[in-house]
Symmetry: C2
Subunit: 230 residues, 2 copies
Amino acid sequence: MITLYHHPLCPHSRFVRLLLAEYSIKPELIEENAFERRRDFLILDPAGQTPVLAEESGTVVSGPGPIAEYFDETRGLALGRHRLLPDDPGSRAEVRRLFDWFSQKFFHEVTNWLVTEKVYKRFMPRKQGGGGPDMDLVHAARVNIRTHLRYIGYLAGNRKWLAGDRLSHADLAAAAHLSCVDFLGDVPWEENETAKLWYARLKSRPAFRPLLADRLPGFCPNPIYADLDF
Amino acid sequence: MITLYHHPLCPHSRFVRLLLAEYSIKPELIEENAFERRRDFLILDPAGQTPVLAEESGTVVSGPGPIAEYFDETRGLALGRHRLLPDDPGSRAEVRRLFDWFSQKFFHEVTNWLVTEKVYKRFMPRKQGGGGPDMDLVHAARVNIRTHLRYIGYLAGNRKWLAGDRLSHADLAAAAHLSCVDFLGDVPWEENETAKLWYARLKSRPAFRPLLADRLPGFCPNPIYADLDF
């Protein structure tokens, strides 16, 4: 059994849940509030950040990028033509460029602000920065997402999937981040039909179902969040 | 000939310069001020961030992580026992965890604040955020680096190199970021002798020499910056 330390609205954790589902792996999920800095979790991962994955063998892999590469190296071949990294180094570099785009650029310009301000801060003690959302940051994220949505639409309009002919880490990362923002109702889908259609394809995959069932105490997801015909 | 779009004080670019030197590759360096958002550079890399590497064949690879993986895939075997990624997936995951630690965590907690506030802002137009440094951010970075230095000392005290028995992407990333901070005189080396000895080993490698010769108009590097017996 694989164990995944995650948080339901941590976009990096969601990426790994999507990834594992594409490998038909059902992990044991342990919910972790990273901001609590739990001692046993810090021993497992000194950075104290979700996601962290533990194999039954004892191997521990931290972070969405290392986890994705680790699965490609240990189980990628078994996926055959559904492998989530292409074969040639140039195409792999393109997948990784877009994976970094969503895991880092989109995260710092959009997801992190929305999830921290609207969700995490509600659960954090005040001395750790908890409290009401900083609406300036929420507004900035809502402005920034529009550029990203246009870029997704551009890519999806010119390629079968975001990084090329095959579904890859890039699509899963983009969809994981967007799914957090969509949970909060902050994706202006009406602005880009091509991006919306690409997301609808992802959302219909069996791998996506557990994410759509996620609920958080005290939060009502956006009404169209779990709707496949949004 | 390989072309590298870089900035002398961009830590991610420095990582790639160290990496290429370990592969005995001397790239053509093109200095890029990412904040200028030059059109031809944005066509090459829509994120508009250094480093970006172009092969003579036309293959373009963006970002420090994708570039490191691309070189391991295309030229890693030729390094033999000096290969910068280990052979087994678990050890590779450890290298990548620490690579992300320095490229992302250290960058956002230390390097980015120091380099942006003390260097980039001096060259940026005021309407793009240029001007004097925000000393609160500079001070925060100076506090944060102490924890990172202790962690480097802990790792270097328990392993031959940061991620294990062999020099890896993790050492090059850590050294690249530290070298930027050291250029600015903000590494409290006296606080951790083990970290300092590890850095001295890196600094003595031939790959490091071009970095130590870097100069920037209007900046005097810290007097011990290029000193191998600092």
